[in-house]
Symmetry: C2
């Protein structure tokens, strides 16, 4: 049988209130009795029941985190950032994979709310109007990670993907590239849109244009990159550079190119997006833009915890800096 607060109270010959006081480090308890209670706790092996405690104090010290796929390197860094901050502030994390499925997202959110998470971090690649509405009405505090609430006012911490893509494209233009191909996300989404926009803007400013047929959609992973590059090469079009949405895609693309005898970067430049550790360990090393995914998670968590503790209700959006990192593939 599990030992509870009344058991240690009996053991120490005090009331449960007193035990509760020493457990929660509330002063106003005599040093000597405190000693006795501590003794009793050790002897009985008492561990407070956080569930009962939460019910009473109406806080769980728990954050819910909705994330598309914890095993996807894109998201795992963010999760770690959240985790580390939670560790510092003594919060726990309930994890929920959503797999980009709206149904799973709704389900997850319900569960997190029912479990009385003090706050919830929503990480995804897009935010539908419908879900925005649902989040807005949630009883828990909400912060969006790497997702923008374009029509609403939910707090969020994100990256200016459009500028990042713009900068990277501009750099490419400066290097003399003129004929661009762009590998986009077949499932669309916020990030993909912004990158497309940024690239187009850079091209426009340089009086270049993007051949719509060279906007090639595919899956955002190595295989997808491999496939998209093959499609590009099959098209027979004249291209200087292929910009991708992600380093893994770039890796797959480079592989496909080299298998067909196309040298990167001499015959064709390739860029990644969202620096991944492996990108400087492959050959050629991938030129990309470094996005501080860990920081996004950490900042979002800190923000959320602040929202939970103070009732500082004003919603903020924080934009994190990125950094173009030029390596060998362009």
């Amino acid at each position: 049988m599990k030992v509870k607060i009344v058991d240690v109270a009996k053991e120490a010959n005090v009331s449960v209130a007193t035990v509760s006081r020493v457990v929660n480090n509330i002063p106003l308890v005599n040093e000597e009795t405190k000693e006795r209670v501590l003794e009793a706790i050790k002897k009985t092996g008492y561990k407070p029941n956080a569930i009962a405690r939460s019910l009473k104090i109406q806080r769980t010290n728990t954050l819910g985190i909705m994330i598309p796929d914890i095993s996807n390197p894109l998201y795992t860094e963010m999760a770690r950032g959240v985790e580390d901050i939670c560790g510092i502030y003594n919060y726990n994390i309930i994890l929920s994979n959503t797999d980009f499925s709206p149904d799973k997202e709704k389900e997850s959110l319900d569960v997190l709310i029912e479990k009385q998470c003090d706050g919830i971090i929503y990480i995804g690649k897009d935010l539908t109007d419908e879900f925005q509405e649902i989040l807005k009405n949630a009883p828990s505090e909400i912060v969006l990670g790497n997702v923008m609430d374009e029509r609403g006012d939910l707090s969020s911490v994100l990256i200016d993907n459009e500028s990042a893509a713009y900068d990277l494209a501009k750099r490419a233009i400066e290097k003399g590239h003129k004929n661009f191909a762009l590998f986009t996300d077949r499932d669309g989404g916020f990030t993909s849109d912004k990158i497309l926009k940024g690239v187009k803007k850079a091209l426009n400013e340089a009086d270049l244009s993007l051949d719509e047929e060279l906007i090639i959609p595919g899956n955002i992973n190595v295989k997808g990159g491999y496939a998209m590059m093959n499609k590009l090469l099959d098209s027979g079009k004249d291209v200087d550079i292929a910009m991708t949405m992600n380093d893994q895609v770039a890796l797959g693309a480079i592989r496909a190119a080299e298998e067909r005898g196309v040298k990167v970067p001499d015959d064709l430049a390739v860029t990644g997006f969202n620096d991944y550790w492996l990108s400087e360990w492959v050959n050629p090393e991938i030129t990309t833009v470094k996005l501080p995914m860990y920081d996004i998670g950490a900042i979002a968590a800190r923000m959320l915890i602040k929202m939970c503790e103070a009732d500082e209700k004003e919603s903020k959006t924080i934009t994190c800096p990125y950094e173009i990192v030029e390596r060998q593939s362009m």
Copy 2:
């Protein structure tokens, strides 16, 4: 103010008991009143309070998972396996990073127990006697993931790393390799020990021996691999093959070798361990052994949930199969 069961009861003009019955899908409630209650739930926006429920029924439907580092590809797959199974059986996950720190492990465990997790999955690279004792006495059910309890009887699901290393080394010997180097974990641990043992066994059987000076310890990541290979090459010893404990290490090692003009696999073979998706996308593709990390997580979770639901207390250990996958680096 949050709406609770009594609010719904008032709205629907029934007792809380009845509402609870319809929420929990207990029969014996009239179809018409059920309708009315459902209506009231929708109208009030009632969401059951899982905390209160858990307190009453003495179960949380929550699994705790202790994991060294969620952002480490080594562990992230396992986490995903756990997650998926939990999704199916309607459990939630409380995540706790331990960073290989015994102190953090103890802390984590306490928190998970206090939060009344029905079961806990411990993932690590080693199990100290002290912690084994602590786990054995924990009030929650415990399953070890990829960790062996050598002197105890805790349930676990693992891989026969020794055999895997043995098989891989044997394959190397068959290919004519004679002079082995081995890159081990500077921090030691269960996996590292077993691999060393397996390799030695294979060598012994072939009347070969392992030069103790060619057992090179280092960090288990790309940089570590890079450093260990440089150390090996600096030694000037005559070596055919370097076996590593992990694909990332192999990647770093290969890079170091090629930078020094040592061709892999022609001048020197390199093997990885624990197949990682990137290993077939780099050049040369890495020969390794594929360990079903996802499955370990999934099986551990399924086992744990079974232990929580039936009080099937007998402890089991399940060993998962591995597979040598020969690619280009050896």
